[in-house]
């Protein structure tokens, strides 16, 4: 950090610590949290809904509040994921896997607490590169083209191996391909051609109703059939995890944060994708990978940290190059434009008095969210003891409303029901659900990258091997896939016994 930047951030911290700025930060965090808790309404919806509130504010106040809304909404989605297995948005899907299991063991408060602490840690640490290296990092991200994205996506697909451990690799692959197949319905992303685009299918399937159906409705119907009385009946666990668990959680948060930050620099890299990768990396480095999915703290800490870090690093291309990398940042971009602030290379020079307070406010927003959510985690966790028929009623109604709120069309309610039926059927026939979600999240991007790459190369697949970054991803994917069984075989030795 050069002296000029240090002086800037320090002086703007002082400016920020005025009561009115702290108030806007707190208000934004609370509102963002409230909206983010509602399934179907994630950071983009929260920003879009609350943007008019900022219309009459000074630019600095507006940016502070919008940033706080953004982070608040991101944490809000975690609460429903952990407590009732409904991901608030796509980036909370992975948190459901271990988070809900922890709730069923009476450790919901621990899960929410480590999510808050991990998010705070990753988010705060990610701001440091933002303030120091924003322009060169943004330039680096522009090196990524369609072949590099293909390599990255193929590496992401390797993560599905971990999600299919119990059900089998073939089943995982079938679900992944099914998810990708479902994304082909609707409009082709490159040529705009209609594929099975008749009647209501013309718009394809939005991810929110799919998530509501698969997770929310599917889970409720399964539990109803099993006559579940409570999610958890016994004595609730502590708020702060035991020391050894906390240390594990913090280490996972650090790893997840690094992964989320680096991948979040890439335009088009959604937090949902980085959470999958962070979870899989965590599972692979763990001494007990077989316990993932049964309620391990690392399974919550890593994706939540990755989620927040991706959100932070997304500001780098936005502020440095004027490239919003996610829909939520697109709305942020619109907010900047409203005030005549043009994101790009000159923003730091021409509007330093606005940008630096924004960066300083990110630190403050992270602290506010931690202070706000940590005590509430224990209160939220008590929801696990509510009789299940109340939970089921709430979940069913919220799923239908959440599904409708995605695009404001009744068709999405029917999509939610259909995927609820599918979610139940998948559980009944013991198919893994997470690879299906992974396929639906990545399907469009995969097709776009593949077809664009082949257009660039004139149809030759050599392009994926000729570009060093892409080749690096492919080699990494092979290493990730092949290394664990080779290492296990090596450790067991020629006699077949372990050391």
């Amino acid at each position: 950090m050069n002296i000029l930047q240090a002086e800037n951030i320090f002086s703007h911290f002082i400016t920020l610590l005025q009561p009115v700025h702290i108030l806007f930060c707190l208000l934004g965090a609370v509102l963002g949290n409230l909206v983010g808790v509602l399934p179907g309404l994630g950071p983009p919806a929260a920003l879009a809904i609350l943007l008019p509130l900022t219309a009459y504010m000074a630019p600095v106040d507006m940016l502070i509040m919008m940033a706080a809304i953004y982070y608040g909404a991101m944490y809000g989605g975690t609460i429903t994921s952990v407590l009732i297995n409904i991901p608030g948005e796509a980036s909370s899907v992975v948190t459901c896997i271990d988070g809900y299991q922890m709730t069923k063991q009476g450790r919901g408060a621990e899960a929410l607490a480590i999510a808050a602490i991990g998010s705070f840690m990753a988010g705060t640490l990610s701001i440091i590169p933002l303030q120091l290296f924003a322009p060169p990092l943004a330039e680096l991200a522009l090196v990524f083209g369609p072949p590099e994205y293909m390599g990255l996506l193929l590496m992401s697909f390797v993560t599905l191996v971990g999600f299919s451990a119990q059900s089998g690799l073939i089943k995982g692959l079938v679900m992944l391909v099914l998810g990708m197949a479902l994304t082909t319905i609707g409009v082709d992303p490159l040529a705009g051609a209609y594929r099975l685009g008749f009647g209501p299918f013309i718009g394809g399937f939005d991810l929110i109703p799919v998530l509501m159906g698969l997770f929310g409705l599917g889970e409720v119907l399964m539990a109803t059939g099993e006559d579940v009385q409570n999610i958890y009946k016994g004595k609730l666990g502590r708020l702060i995890p035991p020391r050894h668990e906390l240390v594990k959680g913090l280490k996972s948060s650090a790893r997840g944060g690094v992964i989320g930050f680096i991948l979040g620099l890439l335009p088009g890299m959604l937090p949902s994708v980085t959470t999958f990768i962070a979870y899989d990396v965590e599972r692979r480095v763990s001494k007990y990978p077989e316990k993932f999915g049964t309620g391990v703290i690392e399974g919550v800490a890593a994706p939540e940290a990755a989620n927040n870090a991706t959100a932070m690093s997304g500001f780098i291309p936005l502020l440095s190059l004027g490239v919003p990398t996610t829909p939520a940042l697109g709305i942020f971009f619109a907010g900047l434009m409203i005030y005549g602030l043009k994101p790009g290379p000159l923003l730091f020079q021409l509007n330093a008095d606005i940008v630096w307070p924004l960066i300083a406010s990110m630190y403050l927003a992270n602290v506010v969210l931690l202070i706000l959510n940590l005590p509430l985690a224990g209160i939220w966790a008590r929801a696990a003891r509510i009789p299940y028929h109340y939970i089921a009623a709430i979940v069913l109604s919220i799923c239908l409303v959440g599904a409708y709120s995605a695009r404001n069309i009744i068709w999405d309610v029917w999509v939610c029901l259909a995927f609820g039926l599918l979610g139940y059927a998948l559980r009944y026939y013991q198919w893994p659900i997470v690879p299906l979600i992974l396929g639906m999240i990545l399907g469009d991007k995969f097709e776009e990258s593949l077809r664009q790459s082949l257009e660039m190369s004139g149809g030759s697949f050599n392009i994926f091997f000729a570009r060093p970054i892409c080749l690096g991803f492919l080699i990494t994917a092979m290493i990730i896939l092949l290394a664990p069984p080779i290492i296990r075989k090596f450790r067991s030795g020629p006699s077949g016994t372990s050391d």
Partner: protein
């Protein structure tokens, strides 16, 4: 002879019902494969070069992959002889029915009334709770989500003939 025929019919039905998922996936894969090929021919006048992947070809490729993997999974099952599954519980089927009914009523009665009815019927008919408790729960839940989604979030929910 008749007993043998009945036995074979039951075995076939049991096999189909126990492996309905595989059949559905295989059928979907075939549908996408055929649909993609048809689309590729239909859009051939858009000028896609034969060496690149057009929208139809991609869809056909994904469909074929789905078909192939589903068949492999099916053979794996035959080899591993998967255990027989119990029928879905009645409560689950009731739940689905109520959800479908509620969604059908939305255009007529609006979101709020339909969801309220869903909660009342679900709690009384499926989870066998008392009517008064169900009605109170329904009113509270409907009121809360109405405030959160409509008033706070500004989502415009469909209103039915009552206008609410």
């Amino acid at each position: 002879m008749n007993r043998e025929h009945d036995y074979r019919s039951k075995v076939v039905w049991l096999s189909i019902s126990q492996n309905m998922d595989s059949f559905c996936l295989i059928a979907m894969g075939l549908l996408l494969f055929v649909g993609g090929l048809h689309l590729d021919f239909a859009y051939s006048d858009l000028g896609f070069r034969p060496e690149t992947i057009g929208p139809g070809a991609y869809m056909a490729g994904i469909g074929f992959l789905l078909f192939l993997l589903s068949v492999i999974d099916g053979f794996t099952r035959i080899k591993n002889s998967v255990k027989k599954k119990a029928k879905p519980p009645v409560a689950t089927l009731k739940g689905f029915f109520l959800l479908a009914l509620s969604a059908s009523l939305i255009p007529l009665f609006g979101f709020s009334i339909s969801i309220a009815l869903l909660i009342i019927l679900f709690m009384t008919w499926v989870t066998r709770q008392r009517l008064l408790k169900s009605i109170l729960t329904s009113i509270i839940v409907t009121a809360v989500y109405y405030v959160m989604f409509v008033k706070v979030a500004g989502i415009v929910l469909p209103k039915g003939i009552i206008g609410f």
